[in-house]
Symmetry: C2
Subunit: 218 residues, 2 copies
């Protein structure tokens, strides 16, 4: 995987400290995780303390976009300059060790830090809105009825530069202590995948459901 942008910036708050061998600042890896995951967990701190909510997201180049109602409390805090931490996690499997202590999960995660900015440029706002729709179903923004100016006005789109952050990945089987290898229980790992069920049409329907939906693991 390649990316035209620089590796993620490691800072005091973004550096992976625990299990460092699982951490990296590989931007292409970060991009692949951001592009595959369907949801981001967006955190900030307000006068009521920390808050983290799930949000749809989309990446365009070295920018991550989220959107929502202008009345959304979290988005308003972020738009006003409150610091952001955005974490995107894909679960890849369960790790069943012989010892309870070494049970784990396989996962890929990206943690980004920074300050978000409200997108005011109309062209960027339209492009970001299209990216958010295409993130769910590639090409969908070209088929759906485009947003009106009033709909764009009724949406806050925020941009986070993908700059400061870290990736953390665990793969493979359990790492048991030597002395536990004869413990009489099955040990190994069990992959987790996300799958689409049968599409449920709304009303009379027109045409066929999109052939491609997101980019899922497995």
């Amino acid at each position: 995987m390649d990316s035209p942008f620089a590796p993620l910036l490691a800072t005091d708050r973004s550096r992976v400290r625990r299990k460092r061998e699982r951490g990296s600042v590989d931007r292409a890896l970060a991009e692949s995780i951001l592009d595959e995951a369907l949801v981001a967990h967006v955190a900030t701190v307000t006068d009521r303390g920390p808050v983290v909510l799930p949000m749809a997201h989309a990446r365009v180049g070295d920018r991550l976009y989220v959107h929502g109602s202008p009345a959304n409390h979290l988005l308003r805090a972020l738009a006003a300059g409150a610091p952001a931490c955005v974490t995107v996690t894909i679960l890849d499997g369960l790790v069943l060790a012989r010892s309870a202590f070494h049970h784990s999960m396989n996962y890929r995660s990206v943690v980004l830090f920074g300050t978000m900015q409200t997108v005011v440029d109309v062209d960027e706002k339209r492009a970001a809105s299209a990216a958010l729709v295409d993130h769910l179903a590639p090409g969908r923004s070209a088929e759906a009825r485009p947003p009106t100016d009033a709909e764009l006005d009724a949406t806050s789109v925020l941009r986070l530069p993908i700059a400061e952050g870290a990736v953390k990945v665990r793969t493979g089987g359990p790492i048991d202590d030597e002395a536990d290898l004869t413990w009489p229980v099955w040990a190994g790992h069990v992959p987790l995948t996300t799958a689409f069920g049968a599409p449920v049409p709304d009303g009379d329907g027109h045409g066929a459901p999109p052939a491609r939906l997101g980019t899922l693991s497995g």
Copy 2:
């Protein structure tokens, strides 16, 4: 669904403001989401700002447990009394509307607020550790090699009372504007499910993989 505990407490920071009809304080619903999801996103604020990380979790009654290394920066902040926000999200589907604006996702989420406490009582710590293993694979803690005292000492277990928070759920198809119903594109919703792949044994293996693994949607 029933729960022996009171509904979640709605406060200024936990009350669902946007799309209120999707919000609730139904504890049994919150419990079912916490029990089904495999990962929680745990947020706090440190002197470096907000941070949110994915963590394994388990519920025992009206308590939510997370664990990790005593050196874990986030757990240390929480153990020292930093306010916590824990969000658990299950994605249930993609919602493809005729209009770009009304695209959405079906999901179930729980957002909890509070202050965590370090579990010091050894019996509670053992029970929480077992619950964390059983959350991955029911009954597994009875088969795996139990934690030694040294392993327990090398683990921080934190408890969050499940008290203040909210549930938010979206289900069903798109909600398009009347004028868009003839827009010539497929519209509907596409269920998402999480599935287990073929178990991958570690080493020579003993016995068969667990018949029951977590409690997944779909």
